[in-house]
């Protein structure tokens, strides 16, 4: 497939890992922000192609992993309502709330549907006129325009029986939060190519300057990731700290203006809870007041709010790059993809699950 095969070409990949090996004196610690990149690194075994001077940390860029437990509990409460058709992306089905997950709610008779585009929720609302359709609108900046369009069209078309449980998060404030930690080990970032496709990369420039970290906007294929690492390493070796763009085939500095326009129409920036991390200022998107009527959180007020569970899960620290998954005492023991303690073990791009499934075997 064009734009995929070239970036999985063995010759180019060998060339690139050689370039990295030649450039590095290290040691350097680099974080890929995006869970999609974590998954690609694990699936293609890329860590085995890197020199030992480079340590990769896997960042918080998985909307599944950072969706707060209280929102999941609320989602499950709504999904249990017999008047509701509840729709969600497949990723969210097995993420544990306090007591259960959406897959179990479905098994107990909840009408939970997996959809692949938020626009399908509008079709479900038309097809189920006697029911309330609720969509769990999670995501980072990449997914936000699609969710925003579903909201915008629901309002324009005056669809009465649809509402949205919104949990949208933003990447740059999370990066700053990581860098602000006195324990942060991150010396350079791979920024998420698809987030930047929407938002551009201007907002990363002050971060690179303030914290003196190189940030390279990076794609998702194996060659993209190695090239991104190569660019970060060269900056580190040369003492530079700039924003560079490896994924220029998709990302422009200003981003996708048409998408940003709808985002501004529908959403406003709010403080946001991140699961395992806590509240980060200005790190979420909430509905503007003209969209209040489509807010599922208001239409179905949460009845039971649970105390957060205390487990020995360290997913919050894993998300911030403070610890690696296998440094967790529960990793592979009490906590496996079959019975996850934290969301990082559920999502296939959660750092813990990626480690569990694809860990490189030293045989």
């Amino acid at each position: 497939m064009k734009y995929i095969d070239e970036y999985r070409d063995r010759g180019s990949i060998e060339k690139c890992s050689q370039r990295i090996a030649e450039a590095v004196t290290g040691p350097w610690t680099i974080m890929e922000i995006c869970g999609g990149q974590t998954r690609s690194i694990a699936k293609h075994g890329l860590e085995s192609l890197l020199p030992s001077e480079i340590t990769l940390l896997h960042g918080p860029g998985c909307p599944v992993c950072v969706t707060p437990q209280s929102i999941l509990d609320h989602a499950m409460e709504i999904a249990s309502n017999p008047e509701v058709v509840f729709c969600t992306f497949g990723d969210m089905m097995r993420v544990p709330g306090t007591n259960t997950d959406l897959a179990h709610i479905k098994a107990e008779g909840g009408d939970v549907r997996i959809i692949q585009s938020p626009m399908e929720a509008l079709n479900l609302a038309r097809e189920n006129a006697d029911k309330e359709v609720v969509f769990l609108a999670i995501g980072f900046e990449t997914t936000a325009p699609a969710n925003a369009m579903a909201l915008y069209q629901s309002k324009q078309q005056g669809i009465k029986n649809i509402s949205f449980l919104v949990s949208q998060v933003l990447v740059p404030p999370a990066m700053e939060s990581i860098l602000n930690s006195p324990h942060s080990k991150v010396q350079g970032f791979l920024a998420a190519g698809h987030v930047c496709t929407i938002m551009g990369f201007e907002e990363y420039e002050p971060i690179a300057q303030r914290y003196q970290v190189p940030i390279v906007v990076t794609g998702f294929e194996p060659l993209d990731i190695l090239m991104g690492i190569d660019m970060v390493v060269r900056q580190l070796e040369e003492g530079r700290h700039e924003v560079e763009n490896q994924y220029s085939r998709s990302v422009q500095r200003e981003g996708n203006l048409a998408a940003q326009k709808i985002l501004n129409e529908v959403f406003e920036v709010i403080p946001k809870q991140w699961r395992g991390v806590g509240e980060i200022p200005s790190s979420g998107l909430g509905l503007k007041s003209v969209y209040r009527h489509l807010n599922a959180a208001l239409r179905f007020p949460q009845k039971i709010i649970y105390e957060p569970l205390s487990t020995n899960c360290i997913s919050g620290q894993v998300l911030q790059g403070l610890k690696k998954p296998n440094e967790c005492e529960a990793f592979g023991k009490e906590c496996t993809p079959d019975s996850p303690l934290g969301a990082t073990m559920v999502s296939s791009e959660g750092a813990c699950a990626a480690y569990f499934h694809y860990q490189n075997f030293q045989a």
Binding site: G139, S250, A258
Partner: protein
């Protein structure tokens, strides 16, 4: 986050619908994709698609430029 993959626009429809829609082929599997965020997209363009929406048109020239850097001779190691 954000599984988004490249596909080729086979055709654009949507005069009758509210938003411009296109048929996009991903190596032979064809899907209806919302083109609202790539208003300048044409048939034959490759777009990156996420949750049913095209979010960018791939820039062939930029792609080639970046791939070319692999063949650049590194002055420091020569």
């Amino acid at each position: 986050m954000c599984l988004a993959i490249p596909g080729k626009i086979l055709g654009i429809s949507g005069e009758n619908s509210i938003m411009p829609m296109g048929k996009v082929s991903f190596g032979g599997v064809v899907r209806e994709v919302n083109l609202a965020y790539v208003p300048e997209a044409k048939q034959g363009d490759y777009v990156i698609v996420h949750v049913g929406f095209a979010i960018s048109i791939l820039n062939e020239k930029e792609a080639q430029l970046v791939l070319n850097t692999l063949d650049e001779i590194d002055p420091e190691t020569r």
